[in-house]
Amino acid sequence: MRIPRLMRVASQSILRNPMRTMLTILGIVIGVGAVIVMIAVGYGAQMRIQEQVKNLGTNMLVVMPGVSGLGGVSQGAATFNRLTVDDAEKLAREASLLSAVSPVIFSRVQAVGGLGNWRTTINGVSSSYQAIRDWPTEAGTFFAEDDQRSSRKVAVLGSTVARTLFPGEDPVGRQIRLGTVPFTIIGVLAAKGQTANGSDQDDVIILPYTTARNRLSGLTFIGAILASTSSAADIPAAQEEIRAIMRESHRLGGATEDDFTVRNQNELAEAAQSTTRVMSWLLAAIASISLLVGGIGIMNIMLVSVTERTREIGIRLAIGARGSDVLTQFLVESVVMSVVGGLIGVGAGYGGAAILGRVTGWSTTTPPAAVLIAVGFSAAVGVFFGWYPARKAAMLDPIQALRHE
C-alpha cells in the first residue's frame, strides 16, 4: 500500500475509538511536554549563567589562590591562602599584556549609616576595578588612583546596600561606618544582579584596597586578583604571562606546582555550567521516564487493539493483505499516535515552560533543536513500542483470525 492510503487506513482506525486514542496520546503528550519543560529549565539556567559570566567584566582574568581542578570555582577558598597585595602590585608593574589589575580583599562587616545597620561584604580593590568589571556608577563616582594611594576613607556602595540603608535618597556625600571606622560615600554602583551561583553582587561596599588593608583591622586576606587585557586575542598569552610572574613572585622553582590558578572568563563559565549541565541532563532523564511510560501505554493499547481487531486482520489477510501490510498498518497507527502526541507535547512543553518561568521566576529557554529531538524521539517510541503488537498482528493465521469472535 502506498503512503497516503496507509495514512488514511491508520487514521480511520485511530478515529474509530477517539476516547481511547486521546488517552493514549495523552501519555506521550505528558512525556514529551515534561522533557521539553525540563530541557527549557536546564538550558535556561545555562543561558543565564553564560550571560552572568559575560557580565563579570570584559576580557577578564582571575587569579585564585590554591590549586583547583576544572569545575572548582567554588573551591577557590583553598586550604591556604598564598595571594598577596605584592603579587597584585608586581603584576600591575610587570605584565605587559594586562591593561588593568586589581586585588580583591574580601571581608564581612557591619555597616552603620542612614536608616540603621546592615551586614555586608567589603571588597577592597584598586581604582581600575571598575574598568575590569565594566561596572558603571549610578550616582557619584568610583574612587580614583589618588584615593587609593592616600588610603582615603571613601566607599562606593553596591545598589542593594544603597537601597537598604538609604531608601529613596542619594547617599553620595553621606557618612557610613564600617565596624568602627567612618567612611564618606562617594558613589553608588549600577545594579548588576545575581552571580552564577545566586548571590547578590550588589550587596557589597567597595573600598580602595589600601584603605581596606590599613584602616580596617589589618586585613590582608586576598580572595582573588582580577585583571583584564585590552583585547580578547591577548587572553591566552596574558594567562601565561601572569603565570610566569606569579611563579617568580612566589619563588616557585622547576617542578613545583603552581599554588594559584589563573582562569579566564570562558573557563569560569565552563566551570559554572558543568554543574548545571549535569543537573539539566538529570532533569531530562527523569522526564524521559514519563515518555517511556507513555510508550508503554501505546504498546498496551496496540496489543488490546490487535486482539480486538483479530477478525478485521483476518479479513484483510483473506482478501490479500500480506503480513507486511498488516505490520505496516499497525506500526503507522502507533507512530501516528506518538507523533501527534509529540507535536502536542511540544506545544504543551512550550506553554508549561513559559508558565513555570512566570510562576517561579526561573529563566526558561527552549532550544529549537529540542523540538526536533522531542518529535524524533516520540516517533522512535512509536516504532519501538508499536513493533511487538504489529508483529503479533502480522503473524496471525488468517483462518484462525476469521473464526475469532
Binding site: M1, R5, V9, Q12, R16, R311, E312, G314, I315, R316, L317, A318, I319, G320, A321, R322, G323, S324, D325, P398, I399, L402
Partner: protein, 257 residues
C-alpha cells in the same frame, strides 16, 4: 485429460489432495484424497455434513491453507508450496471471498469496504479504486448506499456489499462459504439470484452450503463425507432463484394488499 492444450485452464484442479491436522499426539485426517476439476463458467455447490471436510476444502481452495499432500492448481498455477506472501497475492488477484458472517469492516462505509482489496493490489494496475468500487456496488444493486456503514444495512445488503468487495478485483473464482447462513429465506434467495446472475455473465462461482434448497440453484453438486468425495453430479432440475422469488412474492402481495 485432453492432449491438446486448453485455451483456458481449469479454474480449479485438485489432484489427490489430503489434509491431516496434528492435534497433539494424534493425527486427524480431514481430507483423504480429493480429486475434481472446475471449468470456467461453472457454478458449483459443495455440500456435506459438518465434519465432512467442507471447510478444510474451502480453505485450501481459498489459498488460506495448503494441502498435506496432493496438488492444487488455481487458474493453471500450482498453489501448494507457495509462500505466505505468494498465497496472499494469489488471494488478492484470483479470488473473491464471501463469508457467512459478511465480515465487513465495522464503522467503515460500504464504498470503503469494497475498495479494500484494491488497496492491497500490488500490480498497481487499478488506479481509480473509488470508481471501480462504485461500479461493483452498482452491479450488486446497491447504487444508492455507498456511504452507509454495515450497521445501517440489512443482512442481505451487507452480504451484497461483501459480494461487491469480492467482485471488485475481477477474480477468477468467487468463493462463498455458507453465504446465506445468516439470512432469512427471502434474502437468501435474493443473494442466490445475484450469484446466478453473476454466473450468467461468466463468473465461476463455488458455494459451500449445507442447505439443499440453496445447493439446487447450482449447476453441479459435489458432496463430501468423511473427507472423501461421494457424489459429483450435475443438478437435473436447476432452480432459478429469481423465479422462486416471483412465486413467493405473489401470495405475499395478495396478503399485503
Amino acid at each position: 485429460m485432453t492432449a491438446a492444450p486448453m485455451a483456458q485452464p481449469a479454474v480449479i484442479r485438485l489432484v489427490a489432495v489430503t489434509k491431516v491436522y496434528q492435534m497433539g499426539p494424534t493425527q486427524v485426517p480431514a481430507l483423504r484424497g480429493v480429486d475434481f476439476v472446475v471449468a470456467p463458467g461453472e457454478m458449483i455447490a459443495i455440500v456435506g455434513a459438518s465434519g465432512s471436510g467442507k471447510s478444510t476444502l474451502m480453505n485450501i481452495i481459498g489459498c488460506l491453507d495448503v494441502p498435506t499432500s496432493g496438488s492444487y492448481y488455481l487458474d493453471g498455477l500450482r498453489v501448494d508450496g507457495l509462500s505466505r506472501n505468494q498465497l496472499a497475492d494469489l488471494r488478492n488477484r484470483k479470488l473473491g471471498f464471501v463469508f457467512q458472517g459478511f465480515n465487513l469492516l465495522p464503522r467503515t462505509s460500504a464504498l470503503e469496504n469494497v475498495e479494500l482489496p484494491l488497496l492491497y493490489d500490488r500490480s498497481g494496475r487499478r488506479r481509480d479504486t473509488k470508481a471501480l468500487s462504485a461500479e461493483a456496488l452498482r452491479t450488486v444493486g446497491l447504487g444508492g448506499r455507498f456511504h452507509h456503514e454495515p450497521n445501517e444495512l440489512s443482512g442481505g445488503e451487507q452480504q451484497r456489499v461483501a459480494i461487491a468487495r469480492a467482485l471488485v478485483t475481477r477474480p477468477t473464482l468467487l468463493l462463498a462459504d455458507e453465504p446465506t447462513g445468516n439470512l432469512d429465506s427471502r434474502a437468501s434467495l435474493e443473494i442466490v439470484a445475484l450469484f446466478q446472475a453473476l454466473n450468467d455473465e461468466g463468473i465461476t462461482v463455488l458455494l459451500v452450503t449445507h442447505e439443499a434448497n440453496i445447493a439446487r440453484h447450482a449447476k453441479r453438486i459435489i458432496e463430501l463425507r468423511d473427507g472423501r468425495l461421494i457424489r459429483d453430479s450435475p443438478v437435473p432440475d436447476r432452480h432459478r432463484a429469481d423465479a422462486d422469488l416471483q412465486k413467493r412474492a405473489s401470495p405475499e402481495l395478495v396478503e399485503v394488499v
